[in-house]
Amino acid sequence: MSPAGIERREFLKLTMGAGGGLLIGLYLPNGKRALAASAAAVFAPNAFVRIAADETVTVVVNHSEMGQGVFTSLPMLLADELDADWKKVKFEPAPVDPVYNHPIYGVQMTGGSTSTWSSFDQFRRAGAVARAVLVEAAAQEWKVEPEKCRTSNGFVIGPGNHIRRSYGALVAKASLLTPPAQVALKDPKDFQLIGKSLNRLDTPEKTNGTAVFGLDVNLPGMLTAVVARAPVFGAKLKTFDATKASATPGVRKVAAVPSGVAVIADGFWAAKRGRDALKLEWDEGAMADFSSQRQREQYAALAKQAGLVARNDGDAAAALAGAGKKLEAVYQVPYLSHAMMEPLNCVVDLSSDHCEIWTGTQFQTGDKMAAVEISGLKPEQVKIHTTLLGGGFGRRANPAADFVGEAVHVAKAAGVPVKVVWTREDDMRGGYYRPAYYHALAGCVDGKGAPLAWSHHIVGQSIMEGTPFAMMIKNGIDDTSVEGAADLSYAIPNINVQYHPTKIPVPVLWWRSVGHSHTAFVKESFFDELCAAGGKDPYQTRRALLGTSPRERGVLDIVAEKGHWGKPLPRGRGRGIAVHASFGSFAAQVAEVSVDENGKVRVHRVVCAVDCGRYVNPGIIEAQMESGVVFGITAALYDELTLEQGRVEQSNFHDYPMLRMNETPEIEVHVVRSDEKPGGIGEPGVPCAAPAVTNAIFAATGKRVRKLPIRMSEAV
């Protein structure tokens, strides 16, 4: 989701009672410092770090690891200020506690490409506090001034470099001291780890099968469940016949739950076979005749009406009315599934006085609230263990807590620990999609060919509507629907952006890069159309109109140079360029594309530049940009979810394909060295991928792609 700063923070404090948003805490309540602090041979100066007598430094990470590298980048922040020996640093996922709340959102969650920048000073301070106590312990032992001591690579070193003590050797003494309230942080020029491409700490366990994802959790006596869910969103179960399902070998119980019927069995296969044998009757409700075609027609009609004004500069209507040549275009994007490699799942151990949950979640606070409500237990009786996430992309940050809440219901029925497993089909048809959007644009250029007016109507569902985040909708406008469009940074004198929220009972959610996942495609494509209408170069025109956004212009210049903009290409190939600001970072891409005689699009090369301000680990940033490019191209080339008679038509990777190795372009990433405030990195690689590719298709073929996924037969 997009960072919305103060408003979101204050809202969350109000509605969730989670607090702690403004003051960044380092300490657990009741004077407890760390999680395993009872062991005598451990120094735990705050909730984020433990140092053991064997020199191990364990960093407790409050953001979920879903591939973006937080189990490495956040420990780097802490270890740098601690002057720890990096080889001794380990990570551990945090439990759920207000001290681990997101410093901006005020709840425990991972999303919005915020983990590193929001934790930047918090983790540094946690490390600096630990370092100060270790120095104090050594200084007392040596009877010298602490100021005369220094630290390096896991040691406190005394005056004159004659004496030194390892951190592990100081654990017992340090544990008796009170951590200081104030500590000084390093001057960035003294960073030892921050800014270096250190190897990820979580790689070894991900190459030998020992990494534990939610699906890998196993409890004694645990059963496995699958749930037969409604075939149409909003359908209600009328009756079901479990005779055959119950008789399936291995099935222990069949029970109705609010989301459908749970089949609880010894293992996945028995549960699934039991589910296949269920007879279900649904009242399909209002969505039973819903189709994507009809949705498009409704959206097209809406786009012609007046919407909610998200941006208004000058007088776009007047400029367009007076224009000799007016350009109009309709752009469309479909519902999309997150399609994480690990399908949704959740393990729950529920009894009369406790509820313990193991799952890969991005939103611990929301999931815990749901579990408290459904179980009827007290918050302190509900415990969530965050496992590794086999991909998240927003799907595991659901304010509706769908996969966790449902699993608590199933656990109630099971009476024993239970793992609820979603098949790929369940996951893909289970809702919470990137919304489908319809964009109607109009624009014109002046007598010299420069863009003069820009009118943009966006029709589609609000993600926030109907969730606890709805309080952040201002004047009917959900920022996640218009971000990347309303904040258009090109200097065009007349700009009008309007939003038409729609109410459709298909559940929607943030999908990697959220609003930017469609607005960047539309904005950067239509801008290209205006360049062509004015007879202008797409790079130079962008550059000329980005005077007030120097960091966008900076990355644009890099990709133009490294992408050989303007240089000859082999026959049949075209180059496209796109630039976009999102999540506090700035990214640009140049793509090289060819289209064969059958309309098959091949992306050969992508040059990508990102300015995310001060960076922690450029190696991880490169990996995230590569990842974003592949994610964006996958959606652009292949993916859409369509509905017919209320049913999602796609179900698995055969009809919702993923880009594969043999289709992956060469990707070159340039990370800008910067002292600016850190920005996000998990999502900004996605937005430019689609428009860079479609603009390249235009360059190669003269055909404009206005609808995703790309079908050359629909290009104009």
């Binding site: 399609a339 190795m661 043999n662």
Partner: protein, 156 residues
Amino acid sequence: MISFRVNGKAVNLEVDPSMPLLWALRENLQLTGTKFGCGMAQCGACTVHIDGQAVRSCVAPVSRAAGREVTTIEGISPDLSHPLQRAWIELDVPQCGYCQSGQIMSAAVLLREKPNPTDEDIDQAMSGNICRCGTYLRIRRAIHRAAELAAQGGER
């Protein structure tokens, strides 16, 4: 009763012979390094070896393993010493990591058959394995690197 060997150890299972091998490995034998991704041989996350051949265990019935040797990610080295594991670590291949067991198991067969593969060989052998995090370029580089490491005398 279905009997076979897994990572060198004999196992005997009382299970539905039509159950996919994946669930026998994950649930009956607690070898959870092999992953469930699609259930229809589309993604490769469940790749294991049966008698040295790469098999999508989500669609292979457990009966197919009877009397044979099954190797899973847990069995390719006891100590991260396999050239593919060393290369994966050196080049920081995984992101979320969920697909990587299957990637490594597919790559292991390729390297055995073609100790010095070209990009085209790698693309062909690996195109059945999906990575949603998009680590493909690093996987390709790491396979080349593993080939080098193996040629330098590492075990394979």
